[in-house]
Each structure stands twice: as structure tokens, then as C-alpha cells.
Amino acid sequence: MEKYKTLIYKFLLLAGIIFCFNFIYTKFFFEKDLQKHSPIINSIRKVTDEKNEIIYLGESSNTTFREDDVDKRSISEMISDYYPSRKFGNINKEASHAGIYYTFLEAIPENSNVKTVIVTLNLRSFDASWIYSDLETALQKSLVLIKDHPPLFNRLMLSFKGYDIKSDAEREVQFKKSWTESKLTFEHPFPYDNVTDWDFAMAEKGILNEDGSKNSEATVLACHYIKTYAFQIDTIQNPRIKDFDNIVALAKKRNWNLVFNLMAENIDKAESLVGNELVSFIKQNRDLLVSRYSKKGVTIVDNLTLIGNDEFVDQNWTTEHYSEFGRRLIAKNVSDSLKKFYPKDYKDYVSANKKISSFYNDCEGEIVWGQMQTLTDEIAYSGKMSSKTGQKQDFSISLDYSIRNLPDSLKSISISFQKFQREINNDAKIVIQISGSRFKYQWNGFIVNDIAKSLNKWEEVKLNFPLPDDFYNASVIKIYVFNPTNSLMYVDDMKVDFEK
């Protein structure tokens, strides 16, 4: 009996020690660990600190833009344009899915100001290759410390690998198994039992060029589309369903308005590469999700077929990365769905379908153009900053824009900006560069000092340039000041108007 007593006393002593450890760890080490292993905590804290009412949870679709986008902001920032009186926040993490979002949402304190939650619903996240992705281990690891347990317990779980930890090889086995074991059923006779068979058949048959030869690049992409989209969501087995269900339950508990933002997929490409059957599977899954979660009272924004092939940034892979135009369309769709929660706050800030022909950059850093690293606070015409050129910094801020996003029938460009220089510079030029695969490259340079050459004071530079007749065959137009000299020239308040 004595030995059991000793044991009990020692276990009690150990419990006391662990209690003290938790205090020491929380006080002196936890924050450093959080910043090192779970930096996403800062975005979650920001939601509370900034008293955000509406929050958007997204993955790379909310952090990616195309090089020629003038407005490089995210979807969530574009949504916030429509509700200027409401405080918007966002939590973004690449490769995230509903399981990750759920942990983020759980970590938001109950006394926060959050009223509405917009969750990205990515159809691909239901597919085996995403469920068993090799990125999953790192994602799961980043969540351990933010879970709602005592900090010392979370650190113990991190030390003892208490999360879904698997090697890349193990995960590959899992998704390959799923591709073979998950049966594909179709309403009319369909020759393939599963993804593996379909993929194999596509690889064998291939996508053919006009001359009948196999187009390897297109074939690889077609196979990839099959592996990514050819699945049928099993509401019992698919872990994402459980994750989204958990989010629904949490939103109900916290009394949040819940919006699922079903992202657009490249349906055009799926159809052209693989065919209607694949599109049917995609739509079947979409219908299932829309129906399931509408019944649960969730607002679903269905963007699945909203965006055409040209607006997808990645043409050789399956992603939900959209051009500025695509992001605007989604933002408009989501903001429309928010009207029912905030009817009086909606402001038609900018029509999503309207094509813009006027551009302005005050060089204060808020409007993102190319060459933002040239901004300096050494001198400014308006505000605090201007763009500095010269002395090995050859290019000023630059408007890089996709011509297909411009209105039709444009005839000329009117450019104006303020410039400051201390000496005459006959080499600095304002450049209009037009390029595209179906267009003969044009580089038009106009010496700035031929237009305005005042020294030591700000002076406006104005220029009109007629657009070439075949302008709409080109893809991109770039406008900037080029100064390859050692003589400094500052540029501010650049305005570009395309005119009819």
C-alpha cells in the first residue's frame, strides 16, 4: 500500500510541476513560438484588434494577381469597396481548406465584433489530391499552437508530432488509392470506372494536334484536369464535408451570418481538353454543395462558371487565380449576396463589368502599379511620395494593363504627370510600349525635356498619343518614364486616359 501512496504523491507533485510549467511557458516562450510556427495568429488577432465585422477566409485565390493587373488587390479588398461603412478583415493562407478555416474561426474570441463570415469554397479541395496533398503536414503543423488548449499542451503536441504528419510518399499512396477505389458513376454509359482508368486512357489516346500527332503538353494538362476534377463528393466519407459542416455549426453557435464563396473553375478549358463528362462531374458536385448548404441556411455565392478561360492566370495548371477583371466579377457577386445582411450599407462603388479607361496614381503607395520600389519620400508634388528615376533606377512607376480589359473603339491616349529635375536630361523618355503575340511590338519613346524642361521645380508633362489601328490585336500596354542616366528625375501624380 505504501508504494502506491508514494506513487500518488509523486503524480500529484508532477501535476503541480506541470501547472507551473504552463505558467512559465505561457509567460516567457509561447509568443515567440507562435510567431515562429503559427504566424497566421497575427491575422486572427487583427480581426479582433481592428474590430472587424465582416471577415473573408481565403487561400491563394485571394492573394494572387496577374502581372498586367492595374488593381492588384485581393477579392476581399474589392468586396470591401462595396461596404465602405463596414469594417472588413481577411485571413489568408495558401493551400488552406475548410478544415484549416474551421481552426482559424475557432481561434476568434467569442467577444469579437465579427458578424459575417465569408468562407472560400474551393471545389478542388474536395478532391483526393488536395485532401492528401503533401502541403497538408505543414498546414496541420501550423495549427497546433493556435488550438483552444493550454499553451503547454499545444507545445507538447507540437513536440510529439500530435497532428496529421505523413511523408510525401505516404500521401501519394493515399491519393492514388482514392483515385482507384472511388467509383465514377454517370447517368449514361461511361467507359471509365475510376480516375485512374480515365487518366490512363487519356494519356494513351492523348490530345492530338491538327496533323494528328500527340500534343504532349495538352495531354498532360488534360490528365491533370481529370485527376483534379473527376470525383463525386461522398457526403459520408469526404472529410471536407465534415469540415464545412463544422463551420456551419460554429457559425450557428456564434450567431454569425455565413457565406460560402464557391470559386470559379476553368470550365472552358475542362470542356475543351477533356469534354462534357468532366464538366458534368464538376457541376454535379457544385449542385450537391449548393443544395446541401442552402438547406442548412448558408448563403452560397455560386461563381463556378462566372469566369472565362482568358481571365485565369495559370493556363497550364488548375488554379483559382484570376485576373483583376475576374476578381472584380467575384467581388461583385459576393457583395450582392451581402446586401441581405447590410441593405443600407451597400454602395455601388464600381460596376464589376465596367471597363475602366482612366488611370491615376498619386505615388502614395496605395494604388499598386509596376515598379513600386521606386517610390521615395525625398520629394513629392502631392502627398509625401514620388517615383524616383535615374542613378541605376531606370524605370518609374509603370502602368501595365491588359488591352482586353479596356473599352472598345479607343483612338488615343492622353498622359500627364508632374516631374522634378535639377539638371537638363535629354535621355529621359516617356515610353508607351505595346506588345502581344498577334501584334508587331511597339516601343515609342518621347524625350521628356522636349515637352517640359524647367529645373528645380515641379512641372506638368502632357502628351497625346494616337493608338495604332491594330491596337486591339495587342495584349498589353505599358506606360512609364525611362531614365537610364545618372541625372535624377522624380515623377508624381501620373494620369493616363484612353480616349475614343
Binding site: I18, F21, I24, L152, R155, S159, F160, K161, G162
Partner: protein, 471 residues
């Protein structure tokens, strides 16, 4: 299942508690099931390979015991070949094919290219050797054949030492598995102490310095000579702390249930010669080779050149045991070479320990440093993936004197390593459990608390599997 996983944090107390709750007659079954679960956590189907080995040697043991001398030998040879065949197929088949293919290209004969590649079952070399040890001991008459299939299976599969040893002898473990164990506080406490120290060694020391060793071995030419030498130093401690840590946890897990496993390490980096190093490093393997191979070859009761050959055979086999790669073979050869050179120098110069204690201590210290440096350099062969990487490491050491790099080691890593080196020195020729037990209760519990805190808060968050799992 890994000792440093949260699954094991649940598995261990449940298995231990059930062990003491169950009557003695059910314990073998309980431990066997627990061991199967432990093993099947990796690749479940590979347990069939383990069972194949178990069945072969179980039957062989009984037949050897029953038979006359001539048949005995046949059964022994058949058993050894069958057991080694499993090892060969899974561990050496690919290596053999690659070399045969290279030879066929060089000498122009036909050898078919095989595309089959097997994933090496975890701990195959360990349990193969433990199984072989049983049949050899039965053959020699030192051990009675085990008739109880369950108990024999447990001898091969006993979970604490199943995947990376210590490689036990039947005289030690099999006998204990039949004994009734009662809860003894001293064993229980000693076992927990060893587990605590083992986890600290693996998770805080080995895994934290592994990052730096990997960094250097990943791209040696990008680093300055000094940084590469630091990388070598870190790897020497990584492999020691990794394997020593695992063995200590294994011994501790068994001790908690009252089973005594052999010690696998005794401060190897305090050895004064390569010979002594092998008496202190991976003791269960070196004694296995000594007892079953070296002595069979005649040991040192032969002429000098024959003795040298015997030594080289043992070390080359030991290298090959570790891995199917020429780097391991050369690693074993290098140890054999230095062992012979050291022994010959001592013999020829008739070196003896100085009578002057101070001089003797200085010489000892010099020898410890010398042995550590030799061993650390030979570890390059062990760690490198191929001979090309070995060349790169050596090139970086001797040529990158003026290369600037950004190799920065966190101060806490140095601090932990220093703490371990101090502890390891205190533990010279003793074990952590008995050393700690002799300390006053306040010192003892302060030490436990410190180790526990370091394990929870300062363990590496990166996943570094136990190095010896691959063997």
C-alpha cells in the same frame, strides 16, 4: 510507432497498466498484441515478413534440439540461409543488382535489369539478428528450444526493442519473458527515468542539431571549412544522441515492466581507442559479431595476418549490416583499418600507461580527442549518400578555408549540447537511472523537471525519424 510520438504517449501507459492488471498467464499475449500494434503502425503488411522469420527459426530451434549432430548442422545452416534470404531480398537485392549490372557493363556479360524495388521493413536487420542469435544458441546447447510459439514470437517482437534493438540474446530476454513480474516501485521509477533521459537525448539534442548537420551535408561546398567541421561535429552527436536516446527509451520501457535489457552504449565518445569505441558503441551488435562470427573465424588465436583478416571481415560485415551501399562497406573497412593500426602500434612500441598519474591523464585526454576525431571523420562515410558526397565534404573541409557563409547556430543549441556533454561525462560507466537515484530528492526532482520542461518546450518541431530505423 515512434517513441517520440503522441500515439506512444497514449500507448505506453495503457500497455503498462494492462500488463500489471492482467494475470501472468495472459501477459505474453497482451505484450505480443501490443508489439504487433506497435510494429504495424509503420507498414502493416510487413508484419507477415516478421512472422515468416519467426516461424522459420521457431521450427528450426525445435528440430535442432531434437536432432543428432549432423542433422543439427543442416537445420542450422538451412535456418540461417532462410532467415538471411529474407534480409537479402528486402535489403540487399537492389544493391546486388546494381553492382551486377555495373559489372556486366564493364566485363560485357549479360545481366537482366531488374526493376523490382522493395521498401525495407523497419528494423529488419535487428530482428533478423535477434532471431539468428536464438537458433545459434540452441545449436550450441546454451539455450533450450522454446516450445511456446507465442513466447518465442514475443522474444523476437518485444515492442521496446523490436525496431532498433538492443539485439537481445535468448539467455537474457527469453528467460525473463517466462518469469512472473510483480510491480516494483524501483523498477518503475528507474524505467521512467530512462525514458525521460532518452526522450531528452533524442528530441532536444539529436533533433535540434540535426538541422545543422543536414544543412552542411545538403550542400557542403557552400560552406566554410570551419562550418563543415562544425557540421561533422554535430553529426557525430546527432547519431549518438539519436541512437543512444532510442536505446535508452527502449531499456526504460522494458524496465518499467520489470524486464532488463542490455545496455547498448557506454559513453563511446570517451573512448581512448577505436577498439574501446567498439566496446562502448552499439554493444549488442559488436558483441553479436564477436560471439557468432569473430570467434567462429578463430578470433585472435590465429596468426597475425589471419587475425587482421578476421578483424576486417567483422568490420566490413558490420558496415554491410548497416546499409546496402558501398559507403557503409568502406565505413566498416575504415574502422577495421584504424583498429588494426592502433593495435599494431601499441604492440610494436609496447606502449603502457604511464605510472605518473598526471601524464597518464594527459595522454588519456589526447587519446579521447584523437579517437573522437577519427570516428567523426569516418562518420562522413556513414552519413553521405554516395562516394561523390564524401568527396565533396572532404573537398569543402580542405579547400573552403576562405569561403564566406552564413552558417549560424542558435546559442541555445550549443547550450543544450554542452548540457548533454556534461551529463554524459557525469554518467561515465554508469546509467542515468542509477546515477539520478543516488542524488538527494530535491536535486533529483529538479533534474527531472528541467528535462521534462526542455522536452516539451525545446524539442525540435521538425520531424527527424530515428536514424537506425533504416537498418
Amino acid at each position: 510507432m515512434l517513441f517520440n510520438s503522441y500515439e506512444f504517449l497514449l500507448f505506453f501507459p495503457i500497455v503498462t497498466l494492462l500488463f500489471y492488471v492482467l494475470p501472468h498467464k495472459f501477459r505474453w499475449f497482451h505484450l505480443l498484441i501490443a508489439s504487433c500494434i506497435f510494429y504495424m503502425y509503420f507498414i502493416p503488411q510487413y508484419i507477415l515478413i516478421l512472422f515468416a522469420t519467426i516461424i522459420i527459426d521457431y521450427v528450426a530451434g525445435i528440430w535442432i534440439e531434437k536432432s543428432d549432430d549432423r542433422k543439427k548442422k543442416i537445420y542450422l545452416v538451412v535456418s540461417i540461409i532462410s532467415t538471411c534470404l529474407v534480409l537479402f531480398i528486402f535489403k540487399y537485392f537492389d544493391f546486388f543488382n546494381q553492382n551486377m549490372l555495373a559489372l556486366s557493363h564493364r566485363f560485357g556479360f549479360y545481366y537482366p535489369e531488374h526493376t523490382i524495388k522493395f521498401i525495407l521493413p523497419i528494423g529488419l536487420s535487428f530482428h533478423t539478428f535477434q532471431s539468428l542469435s536464438y537458433v545459434i544458441e540452441v545449436y550450441k546447447g546454451n539455450q533450450k528450444a522454446e516450445k511456446h510459439f507465442g513466447i518465442y514470437s514475443l522474444y523476437v517482437m518485444f515492442y521496446p526493442q523490436l525496431v532498433t534493438g538492443p539485439i537481445e540474446r535468448p539467455q537474457n530476454l527469453l528467460v525473463q519473458l517466462r518469469q512472473e513480474k510483480h510491480f516494483e516501485y524501483a523498477n518503475f521509477a528507474a524505467g521512467l527515468r530512462l525514458i525521460l533521459f532518452g526522450l531528452f537525448t533524442k528530441m532536444v539534442i539529436a533533433d535540434n542539431i540535426a538541422i545543422y548537420a543536414d544543412q552542411i551535408y545538403g550542400d557542403p561546398m557552400a560552406y566554410n571549412s570551419i562550418s563543415v567541421l562544425k557540421g561533422l561535429f554535430f553529426y557525430s552527436f546527432q547519431i549518438y544522441c539519436d541512437f543512444f536516446g532510442y536505446s535508452t527509451i527502449a531499456v526504460g520501457c522494458a524496465k518499467v515492466m520489470g524486464y532488463n535489457l542490455m545496455d547498448n552504449f557506454k559513453n563511446p565518445y570517451l573512448s581512448k581507442s577505436i577498439g574501446e569505441f567498439w566496446q562502448r558503441w552499439h554493444i549488442s551488435l559488436s558483441t553479436w559479431f564477436r560471439d557468432y562470427v569473430y570467434f567462429s573465424l578463430g578470433g585472435n588465436r590465429v596468426k597475425i595476418h589471419r587475425w587482421m583478416i578476421n578483424i576486417m571481415i567483422i568490420f566490413v560485415l558490420s558496415g554491410l549490416w548497416h546499409g546496402a551501399n558501398w559507403t557503409f562497406v568502406i565505413w566498416g573497412f575504415a574502422h577495421g583499418f584504424f583498429y588494426i593500426v592502433e593495435t599494431m602500434i601499441i604492440r610494436m612500441l609496447k606502449l603502457r600507461r604511464s605510472a605518473n598519474e598526471t601524464i597518464a591523464k594527459i595522454v588519456d585526454a589526447f587519446n579521447v580527442v584523437k579517437t573522437f576525431i577519427i570516428v567523426s571523420f569516418i562518420w562522413i562515410l556513414f552519413r553521405a549518400s554516395d562516394m561523390h558526397q564524401v568527396k565533396l565534404i572532404l573537398k569543402a573541409i580542405f579547400r573552403n578555408i576562405h569561403v564566406k557563409d552564413d552558417f549560424h547556430v542558435e546559442p541555445k543549441t550549443w547550450l543544450f549540447l554542452l548540457l548533454f556533454i556534461i551529463l554524459d561525462s557525469f554518467l561515465f560507466n554508469t546509467r542515468f537511472d542509477s546515477w539520478a537515484n543516488a542524488k538527494p530528492v530535491v536535486v533529483r526532482w529538479s533534474l527531472y523537471s528541467l528535462l521534462l520542461f526542455l522536452i516539451i518546450v525545446f524539442s525540435s518541431v521538425n520531424n527527424f525519424p530515428f536514424i537506425y530505423f533504416q537498418f
